[in-house]
Amino acid sequence: MNFEHTEERRMLADSLNRFIAEQYSFEARDRIAQSAHGFSPEIWQQFAELGVIGALFRETDGGFGGAGFDIAVVFEALGRGLVVEPLLGSAVLAGEAIAAAGNDAQKAVLADIIGGTTIAAFAHDEPDTHYELARVLTRAERSANGWVLNGAKAVVLQGERADLFVVSARTAGAVGDEAGISLFLVSSKAPGLVVRGCPTIDGGRVAELSLNGVALDPGALLGVEGQGLAALERAIGRGVLALCAEALGAMEVAKAATLDYLRTRKQFGVFIGSFQALQHRMADLLLEIEQARSAVINAAAALDDADRLTRERALSAAKVSIGRIGALVAEESIQMHGGIGMTWELPLAHYAKRLIMIDHQLGDEDHHLQRFIALGRQTAA
């Protein structure tokens, strides 16, 4: 039993934290997050050079990490800086889908993703999915020279800037069937693909995709036809871990800011931190954040567990914990700050927004609690 990170990971975390502290100040981040581009290509290149992207991939896939704790270390740091660059969408989600399901030819693109020269996007959610993994309406039909895709994809991370999309589509079965889902690699230039981008409330941009008879050659099929669900689950599982770690980083900053405020802000002539009601609420907050940290550790440790149920339960348990605790931290931090905590100029407000919005990505608290229960029934059975 050992809760120390390896030397390599500590060094990675240090350099990443230093880089963010120097290059990603709140003002810089605010500018980037509101920019029309949705993120900073310069910063993105530097992440690549720092090896941050590569740290998210296994050595067999051209990276030099890819373990649960690599993802956790990187995303906790990204959460501290409220980083909006496409590490989740391009590296973790699309990257893992390609790594998990792709053939050698298809995996070739991983090098460019790791190098930051290619940005991939994960196009799985659909307008009516509401977090349900197998709920795929987009259809792919075989054609004389490959495949034709028709359908719509929702809230695709940095979709406007992607060169390449991993698209899930139904090649068989009815909506909701676990079997019959296939994955495809779709170029952003593919005729019939319409990408409409828009900003988000917590920074960065997303896009709505419509696929109107998008024609693909046979080589576009990623993995075995009809068996895409497993790769989707692996990719989303890694994404869930990434989001949980990101939330933990954001909680740390919100906690520090609130503690500092309680220590320095006076009201009725005394420091508000001297009010016992606030002291006890702050104690609760710290306690919960420690539980969130443990939840992330459990999820990271289980990420590559051979037993699917062990792995997925730990991931859902973490997302449930993060969903509940993230909202608590966001709401209590604002409340203890009072009016100032509601203002755009205060970084805290943006950490609070991010904490709440993380619950809206890859399954919210309720979704993962029900999933945790369902997986438990499978264990029992």
Partner: protein, 402 residues
């Protein structure tokens, strides 16, 4: 014991409903229902409609143009307006300054200012709290020095006010200012009316986390205010402030707003799908909705009990603090469920989509456009108007006396 309204009150309710059906412009109710931003013109339009009917200043005595409603009738009116998605009455002039002038103002002041509130010639905002003071209202550092010159008696005002809601639309502001620095905290404060077009008044916008410009900071640099703009006695402004803070809190729970918001939420939950069935049938979400619906039913009765007590001559004390706390908790919970109901579509956010001239793309269900922003904006409910922590202090002081 009888929870029903009297036949007379039912007739009144129908009168209000008919009025809203006839006179409330659909353009306005649509904006309110969809959480879009109201322009100053929108607010003025609705005020004018109400004023024509004589219902704008419904808290005022008949002598000053009020309709002479009972607390129950006021509750019914408020409730029906919410259900019809009518714009809120902007409270600063009508519900805040009006009562203070009626109670503490002199005849000249009443004759001059009250009609201008009704016909909208003046648009008021509130200069109460100050940066760094927060809920500690009596911590007023904005100063007003009494002086005399050729143009007569006056005050020179210096300082700054925070959290001035809709100050960007206002031409007048009523302020708590310190006229006596020797006196201790609550004393030495005066209640002053200031023309915002006077040189030295500067309004700076404060953008909230939802990207909205609703509140402002107002700066005063050597602002000259004629002495006749003092309301009540000099150094006795705290009396006005306290009166205003405790005045008419029978609607503090915002029952109508929550009932209307819950109706909308239920419609949304019936449309949104989860696991192939309406979100309303998802056990977790259904439980969350049911719990807040039950809390709301309970609070509504608590509110009516308080109103009945007031009608019976009682003075609401800890009760209004309880209603403030539970009322804001419920409103925040409903807007939180509204956000949850949007799933992944809660994140996309196009600020312009909340303005009425917007014609751009719509992302996800219509309700998604404002869901997250409204949730974040509603965090203010438990902070402003006396934070819920302050309310709990008030309750425990009243019941524990410690």
């Amino acid at each position: 014991m009888d929870l029903n309204f009297t036949p007379e009150e039912e007739i009144f309710r129908n009168e209000v409903r008919t009025f809203l059906a006839d006179k409330l412009p659909a353009r306005l109710s649509d904006k309110v229902a969809n959480g879009k931003h109201l322009s100053k013109a929108d607010m003025q339009e609705w005020h004018a409609i109400l004023n024509t009917r004589g219902w704008l200043a419904n808290h005022w005595p008949v002598a000053y143009g009020g309709p002479g409603w009972s607390a129950v009738e006021k509750f019914i009116f408020e409730h029906e307006c919410c259900l019809a998605s009518a714009p809120r009455i902007v409270p600063f002039g009508v519900n805040m300054l009006g009562p203070v002038l009626i109670k503490f103002g002199n005849e000249t002041q009443k004759r001059h200012w009250l009609p201008r509130i009704l016909d909208g010639s003046d648009w008021w905002c509130q200069g109460y709290s100050e940066t760094g003071a927060g809920s500690d209202l009596a911590a007023v550092s904005t100063t007003a020095l009494r002086g005399h010159d050729a143009q007569g008696d006056h005050y020179i005002v210096n300082g700054q006010k925070a959290w001035t809601t809709l100050g960007q639309h206002a031409n007048m502001i009523f302020c708590l200012v310190r006229t006596n620095r020797e006196a201790k905290k609550q004393e030495g404060i005066s209640f002053l009316l200031i023309d915002m077009t006077t040189p030295g008044v500067e309004v700076r916008p404060v953008i909230t986390l939802d990207g909205v410009h609703e509140v402002n900071e107002v700066f005063f640099t050597d602002v000259r205010v004629p002495a006749e703009n003092l309301v009540g006695e000099e150094d006795k402004g705290w009396t006005c402030a306290k009166y205003l803070l405790t005045y008419e809190r029978t609607n503090i729970a915002g029952v109508g707003l929550s009932v209307a918001a819950l109706q909308r939420l239920k419609r949304i939950a019936a449309q949104q799908m989860r696991n192939g069935r309406p979100l309303a049938e998802d056990p977790s979400f259904a439980a969350r909705m049911a719990r807040v619906e039950i809390d709301l039913e309970n609070m509504k009765t608590t509110n009516l009990r308080m109103i009945a007590a007031v009608v019976g001559g009682g003075v609401p004390g800890a009760e209004s603090s309880m209603l403030k706390i539970r009322g804001t908790q419920i409103r925040q919970e409903i807007s939180s469920l509204n956000r949850r109901a949007m799933g992944p579509y809660a994140r996309p956010f196009i600020t312009e989509a909340l303005e009425d001239d917007y014609t751009g793309m719509q992302v996800g269900p219509e309700a998604a456009a404002s869901a997250a922003a409204l949730y974040f904006n509603n965090r203010k409910l438990s902070i402003f108007g006396g934070s819920n922590e302050i309310q709990k202090n008030i309750i425990s002081k009243m019941i524990l006396g410690l």
